[in-house]
Symmetry: C2
Subunit: 260 residues, 2 copies
């Protein structure tokens, strides 16, 4: 775990500085290895790479914890450069799409952002809790949320700023509860998400309902109120499926937890 | 390209024998490499791993060819073990799901299979055409199809057999044209897909329509005729999106081409 901590510190530096290593470092990767590298089969028959792809493509659903054998793999992925690169590829594609739109600039075009693992990163928390290998602990997680110390996801922050510059307004829809409104707003502003059209948190009336149902209903209300959802980005498929999903959706990586 | 050919021959052997290397070979993978291996950044700013993830998650859409810089990466992926493992993870998940269903065994439960890169593999063709780096050439590709020599995708064939054993019937819906019916049927049977409820090919009336539209309409007809689509598997998101998609969908990997 010592190496993971070193990587984590390196990652935190990258998160805050927004810098990346020079190109010559990238070129040291062995170009002709037939096998995709980090992690791999820790147990015969189980490929953590295939598990992660299965999760990201919504083939593997309804899981409560990551496979025990994949803790090291997921940890390295999250703390290494690939998570950042994968996030950048999504954000870049989202901006290319947004840029291609002919927008009326009537103040009604909105982009839906999820919060956790989309705009705010809980990696400092998950790095101390096995990257999803421990079952979700609401008490501990909410304690972390109430500290208001979650860093921004750097590529999402860049996307947010670029979308605002196109005249698109941000709407945050999060599974966080109403009683976390103040700390969530403070945390978002502190790390650079300074303005939004709406910050929608999960009211208690939705308790027991799925995230897909809650988020679909909130998006429906937006559309009924005259907003046009031009884009929608989240780390969970439940952010992107259902109804009123928006004109195009973007799935950020998250191999640490699953929300239905 | 010599190494690619060796890998290709090794892969063909794996395809026909259904064997895999012993576990100790897998364990030679460096477990602590922070960077996912094969391919990687050939051009600063472009990660072929991120590009592939973006494609598989439907973030990167509407592309005509793979990035030139990723030809080697995609080739190694397709001919190496990871493509097979990723396919196995999808097929295993699909079977777990199917097994969990309480089916009436009334002969009306069907599973939709796409053909190209889902049940039949065109890898021998694509290996000679840059793994998607060359623009699609209908003349050459149709010539290959008419040879009827496409091997089965081994994990899909296993899934097909297991689904039949559960009393689920197979329906193939393919973008191949009606005039390829005979060779497609022959090819499917030759490699082990011996029976089906329907083999649906694209009629000329659909020409110019999207695959999503064509496939949605054919699935609608099935449901109107009393069939229940319990599952749906394909390598393209256009196989799985639209309407009447089925109770659950499964996305097989395909980083070589995109069909909308």
């Amino acid at each position: 775990m010592a190496l993971l901590l070193v990587l984590f510190l390196a990652n935190i530096l990258t998160l805050s500085q927004g810098s990346s290593q020079p190109a010559h470092v990238h070129r040291q990767i062995h170009l002709l290895r037939p096998q995709s590298g980090a992690g791999g089969d820790l147990v015969p028959g189980l490929s953590c790479l295939s598990w992660r792809l299965g999760v990201e493509t919504n083939n593997i659903i309804g899981w409560k914890t990551i496979p025990q054998e994949c803790e090291g793999y997921v940890g390295h992925y999250m703390l290494g450069k690939q998570y950042r690169k994968d996030s950048k590829a999504v954000a870049d594609e989202a901006f290319l799409y947004a840029q291609s739109l002919k927008l009326p600039r009537d103040g009604k075009d909105v982009w839906i952002f999820d919060v956790d693992e989309t705009t705010l990163s809980n990696l400092p928390y998950y790095a101390e809790h096995g990257f999803g290998v421990e079952p979700y602990n609401a008490t501990l997680f909410n304690k972390w949320v109430m500290e208001g110390k979650a860093p921004a996801l750097p590529e999402s922050l860049k996307l947010y700023k670029k979308l605002l510059s196109l005249g698109i307004k941000a709407v945050f829809i999060t599974g966080r509860a109403e009683d976390q409104r103040s700390i969530t707003a403070t945390n978002l502003k502190k790390v650079g998400f300074h303005s939004w059209e709406k910050l929608i948190l999960k009211e208690s009336s939705y308790s027991g309902k799925t995230s897909v149902g809650y988020k679909s209903n909130e998006r429906k209300k937006l559309e009924k109120n005259g907003y046009k959802i031009v884009g929608n980005i989240g780390d969970q498929w439940s952010d992107l499926l259902g109804t009123y999903t928006g004109n195009r959706t973007f799935k950020l990586p998250d191999p640490m937890y699953y929300i239905s």
